[in-house]
Symmetry: C2
Amino acid sequence: LNYRFTHPMLPSFQFADRIAPLHPSPIHELFKVLGDSRFISFAGGVPDSDLFDVQGIAEATAQALAEEARSSLQYGAAEGYEPLREQLAQMLREKKADVVAADLMVTAGSQQALDLIGKTLISPGDKIIVEGPTFSATIACFRLYGAELISAPTDEDGVDVDRLQELVAQHCPKLVCLIPTFSNPGGATLTLQRRLQVLEMAVRHRVMVIEDDPYSDLYFHGAPPPSLLALSQQVAGSRDWLIYCGTLSKVLCPGLRVGWMVAPRAILAKAAMCKQFSDMHTSALSQVAVARYLQMQRLPALLARTRSIYAERAHAMHAALTRQLGGAVVCAMPQGGMFIWARLTGAGRFAGDGGAFAKAALESKVAVVPGAMFFANNPDHATLRLSYATSSIERIEEGVARMASVF
Amino acid sequence: LNYRFTHPMLPSFQFADRIAPLHPSPIHELFKVLGDSRFISFAGGVPDSDLFDVQGIAEATAQALAEEARSSLQYGAAEGYEPLREQLAQMLREKKADVVAADLMVTAGSQQALDLIGKTLISPGDKIIVEGPTFSATIACFRLYGAELISAPTDEDGVDVDRLQELVAQHCPKLVCLIPTFSNPGGATLTLQRRLQVLEMAVRHRVMVIEDDPYSDLYFHGAPPPSLLALSQQVAGSRDWLIYCGTLSKVLCPGLRVGWMVAPRAILAKAAMCKQFSDMHTSALSQVAVARYLQMQRLPALLARTRSIYAERAHAMHAALTRQLGGAVVCAMPQGGMFIWARLTGAGRFAGDGGAFAKAALESKVAVVPGAMFFANNPDHATLRLSYATSSIERIEEGVARMASVF
């Protein structure tokens, strides 16, 4: 009934069955109050727009239109603009992955890669194992294709691989979808040993693994372990069971909507066809501009700056939480990415109830996201996701002080 | 079996059931030979990139990044960039439609509007009535959501409304999807009287009508009849049963991927949610640049120029076809848009076989599209689609001469 039209003129009309479980994201709802500068937001999952290399992007865009107007403005191939595919393959090769342009297609952010994977591979009733917790839009995206989602437990080293293998053996899922590095929302990073175990599992159980990898460039100290994609060279046959989703949204900017997907070519061919009937192709201007930008070699300096600023903010938030909320909250210091995952412990007014805490915090003009929405099932209601990416250290300390005042 | 992986390592893995009927578009295949300038192509459905207002777009893009970097590069709302929604609503109001920004959402071209309609409204087994012939990517897009497509016959005045009403009464379809103005591929335009009948039918049968309207600005003599959207004010209740899809792809350029959809707000709300989980939002840079471009008031002059050039080309192609192939081909002179729809008549070698003719024509280095692919069922194999949009008059005459030599 909740998916009937609310319009009084349309009592008999129904939406598609697939959208019955859809609800507006609580984060989306939070956005509405966040234009208000009196609020301090730890709720978003967005990069800090003050760090964007606007000048570099403006130069790349001007070059694109001056020198490649036709490629920038005319229809293009569903698979993407060839020079961008070459640049992205080169970028992956620099991270030790064995990839050529024909192994990847360009997508409108990694969100569309997940959507195309769903469209290409998921029949209603197929099972998908995700991490508990995982990115909420991943859950919604796959449910729209009729998938049944199953959560595998995680710890401070990422997904529990032994438990994951048991779940795979038990459920014969169509896909296993992981965010192995600086996970959203959990912040954890899968160890090298577990990565190799995941690849071996993929081959042994003949199960397709998705590596969703938006954050791995945002490390604070050393680089994280190599991607599953890079490690697949060490596990015979594993590349056939691996789809890698990447994006420039967190390292360059999200607004251009440029991501990509590396997959076995038979899958890419079908996904490109599905893309043709979804949006034809990704914005050509975005693609040519990004190809030009990557050629300019400005990304390494931008990344270095972004890493150091996010690292400072992560340390400041972790220290403030520990100092001011140490009795009520436990959280690990992330090694990269954009998020701290916190758990309301036994002590304090809001023990075990992240939803109630987030609501009370909003009244003190600080926004955090209750963690329960990031679980496909068996939510841990005691959790919260906090992003430090967009706030100055002063605002982070003030925000945590407001959180402390809520107790 | 045709949707199993071809990769020898993956014998047991299957694609989603929904993609079983998908095949690469024959047009897509044609594209591969068309980089070769020895070919004359009437096969595309693309605007002439030599007409693009590159300077205007470059100025708009530079302005967007200089003055609204954050809006151009950060995440934005799934519904679209508010000033662009305002501009598009204003543009529709100038064409007598009663539309405000909240009545529309921005999409990645009108193809994505169709995709979101499918995702939001179509459950597997739902029926959709389309024109026979209609745009091939519309057919594929809806089939991916499990729809059963039924063709309504058309004539030189667009869809046969009496027959359409009978089909609606017989099949109780979820949607009726029409391209009422300068149709792709048929070139026909629905008369004013039939437009009003369609709107009355929508109310009487409680069936949602989609007006796909990419071409109506490309008229050659006078403006076409008002859109169903504009006319809905004359038919009580019809606005509740109407979804309008628009795009700038054929009038400004396709590469920015900016289209929109006007729909009842309950549908827009769900479609925006589906968009959030498909690609988050349309390229922000494209949206801000297009909003700026529309503000610059350069579109009217661009349209005037495009109309006059396409009109010359359409006349040249129609005259050449009549003069050189009059015994073998019948075709109507279109009043706008990008296409001539031709039928191989009884006379000549290829009578009734557009596929064989297209193949033979390709050997003479002229590309045309067999019309059969534009029918959801009961294809008319005698038909061909010819686009005059991208060829000079000399090339059009040379191409038609090559076609004549094939006989």
